[in-house]
Symmetry: C2
Subunit: 475 residues, 2 copies
């Protein structure tokens, strides 16, 4: 049975939570008195649908069911997770959290999205709640700061990992938790720079994204400095840059006065910088970039990429059927080209992942490769029969045409979500010794598994389109 | 004739500058009294060779010549750029900059890599110099902060753009320029969090790279907040978060005392976090991740990706020869798979880029596509004849097998840097109307250009390997 998440308070953050759970197969019940909440959350979920599945090379579970209710008790009834994201007013939080504590199942974690309040403040009137502070967009960024009761945060971490998040349990409660302290420090410094006419908002953004932003996205602060210290290490770095703490390198001893002039100055500069794009366009650009960068990090397993890889490994492919399903996934935005459809490169990428999966099925998996044997592609033929668009599902089924000695001849059927054939890919794989880089017969266990699949598939017709050369007339 | 850069002071920063110029075809003369400087700079350049060219889908110019000298006058003689990166001691800077001003050509910009000194401090004793402050790794990160004389910084910006950098001219001199003020603010806050036992170095790094680091790498600070403000915009965001300026959300009013205990605590935590990898391994992982993320941003043109795209457009493909060169590039690390060689997907990616380039040659370019016509791939055949490794050069030459009505039949020869055939790719392209998504004949100008190329190539033999089906015995 599906799990159920209760989202108390919509808006950008609540909507992000709803999307994160819904797209991971949870049912989601939303409680929000705002009459616009259904529309707002719908828009966030639309954004999530076009980006979150694109992080993965496997399909996420079927979406759960999304419901809206104005009955708080109903919203949290039977919930496996309750998330409060109401406005940052302590009296309001106390009122809502008291109700949630009363109505939610006793064993269910109640998380608060608060950035401003500590757990001791939230629980002061007896509510059972921990801080579970996410980052926008909640459906893509893995970080969740957990603060509060040790047992509750431990249980929370377990749940949040199943929806692809990275729970960071904070050792001691502190104002603004961890990440927002850095954001606040930078924000204060940035306000001074704009106010003093040293830099515009755009120049500040460039100073970040053209330089250290790219380092922090993968390494954070200390690992960056460890590398900067070079062979002499972290102590050397600190000896070199420690004294700068005494220098007037920030204005942070002061707090800028938050006047109307300053607000106008910054809002005006921001309009000049980004006003040519709507917020929706900026969000989509941000999400496409996040997907692209996070997919890049997935290759190395660094940072957010490692979280995606771990989560992806829990996503099972469908089993059964005449031919094994070797790929089942959504097409990422990043696979689109100037023709507005999936670029030919990614037809082969999908088929190549299908070959990888078929190799796993016959025991030529990561351990086998580590032992020094693998398959190399010798020859490939692709037919592009239909256009595929970003966001569509594709399913690849694989037929073994022939397995003989070192040769493995495969045929991949690439279908869209409705089962319509969109492409085929025929490939001749040669088994090799990775040390000599020469062909050789597979290990007996792999050969046996290949023979078994060959036998199981021997009644199947030779596929239409196999054995074709480019430009050959159809039979 | 090659341009010449003089690098005064080696080390990580000087070496990064040397690599940036050298790999963009400049001759580089290094002056550094450190007897280890040749080795150190060599190591930085090795890192650069495996990463910088990977940002581009075209080949960078041939490397310039690298020389080392202990004669400062010789080092800067005839230089088109002089970059000072000696240790951050003002007396030393004054001495070196006085010599550079004396020996360097009068019209050559003299840049200082200083993070700590303002131009008015550097020029106080009469030296002609501007601040040109880079970010590590200098060969990959585009950001350069320019501060100083308006004429000199304008000329400097022009030069630095030709080597793929993003010059940010700072409006007023200020301690630590711009970016380092943010780094310093975050550094101070981070020292407090570690000192107070709120978080370890690793937890702080995770708090950054699992969350806002990914936003900043593409958007920076203000654009992120503009989006966070949602439809209500930047003013709404500021109204919501402005009051937090009065809250105790950072410790930055205080400066932590820089004791030996604090250094040991941080160095020890950093060892626990990253000590399983050498600095060299961390650098390579960092560079691979930077390349991956920056290539992802290149797709959307955001931030650093836009800089790469603009620079790439200045890189010309070789002309002449029997067949047009349609790709000339280095193989990125990110194209490698578990077999330790270029993955099959990227053979097709390279060939697909070759088809794009061939389309440009016949006038089916971005404008043509914007007008509503293009080519779609119908069918493809690839032979993988030899392994290709990351860092190797590949060159693609393209033969037009047939152009007839809506059909364009191409054959790409993919060679390694020594001209050895590594793969072939045969492709049937169909000309389409992008509105109806149906095939149609090309516009007359494109058809004429195709006919012209067909005529020029008509004496060429039908390539070995064309017209093959998968698994066909060799003739």
């Amino acid at each position: 049975m599906s799990k159920k998440a209760s989202i108390i308070g919509g808006g950008v953050i609540g909507g992000g939570w709803a999307a994160r759970f819904l797209l991971n197969g949870w049912d989601v019940a939303v409680f929000d008195p705002d009459p616009q909440s259904q529309r707002k959350i719908g828009e966030v979920i639309d954004n999530a649908r076009r980006s979150l599945p694109s992080l993965y090379d496997r399909r996420l579970p079927d979406e759960g069911t999304l419901t809206f209710t104005d009955d708080l008790a109903e919203a949290v009834s039977g919930a496996d997770w309750v998330q409060e994201s109401v406005p940052e007013r302590l009296d309001l939080k106390h009122k809502v959290l008291a109700d949630l504590t009363k109505f939610a199942p006793e064993t269910t974690v109640i998380g608060s999205s608060t950035s401003g309040f500590k757990p001791s403040e939230l629980t002061a009137k007896g509510a059972r709640v921990i801080v579970a502070h996410p980052f926008n967009p909640v459906y893509l960024l893995p970080l969740i700061e957990l603060v509060g009761d040790a047992g509750e945060t431990a249980r929370a971490a377990e749940v949040l990992r199943t929806v692809g998040m990275y729970p960071l349990t904070v050792r001691k409660e502190i104002d603004a938790h961890i990440a927002d302290r850095f954001l606040e420090a930078v924000w204060r410094e940035a306000l001074w720079l704009v106010k003093d006419g040293v830099a515009t908002t755009e120049e500040i953004d460039e100073a970040i994204r053209m330089g250290f932003g790219l380092r922090w996205a993968q390494m954070g602060l200390f690992e960056t400095y460890r590398v900067a210290g070079g062979e002499a290490g972290m102590k050397h770095f600190m000896a070199q840059f420690g004294p700068a703490l005494e220098w007037p390198w920030t204005k942070l001893m002061d707090v800028p006065e938050f006047t109307e002039e300053l607000v106008d100055l910054i809002a005006g500069q921001s309009d000049d910088q980004s006003g040519h794009m709507s917020i929706r366009e900026l969000e989509r650009l941000r999400d496409d970039n996040l997907v692209g960068m996070m997919r890049a990090l997935k290759k190395s397993g660094s940072g957010a990429g490692g979280v995606i890889g771990t989560h992806e490994a829990t996503l099972a492919l469908p089993e059964g059927g005449e031919l094994p399903v070797t790929v089942d996934r959504q097409i990422p935005q990043t696979w689109t080209d100037y023709n507005g459809h999936m670029n030919e490169t990614h037809y082969l990428e999908a088929a190549s992942l299908a070959t990888d999966r078929f190799m796993e099925l016959i025991g030529a998996d990561a351990d086998y490769i580590a032992s020094g044997k693998s398959f190399f592609t010798a020859e490939t033929h692709i037919r592009n029969l239909d256009e595929l668009k970003a966001g569509e599902r594709i399913v690849v089924r694989t037929q073994l045409l022939k397995a003989e000695g070192k040769k493995m001849h495969l045929f991949h059927f690439i279908e869209d979500g409705e089962g319509k054939l969109a492409a085929t890919m025929e490939t001749l794989q040669l088994h090799v010794d990775l040390t000599s880089r020469r062909t050789c017969d597979p290990e007996p266990a792999v050969a046996a598994k290949l023979a078994e699949i060959a036998k199981a598939q021997e009644g199947l017709p030779f596929p239409d389109g196999a054995g074709r050369f480019v430009g050959q007339k159809r039979a």
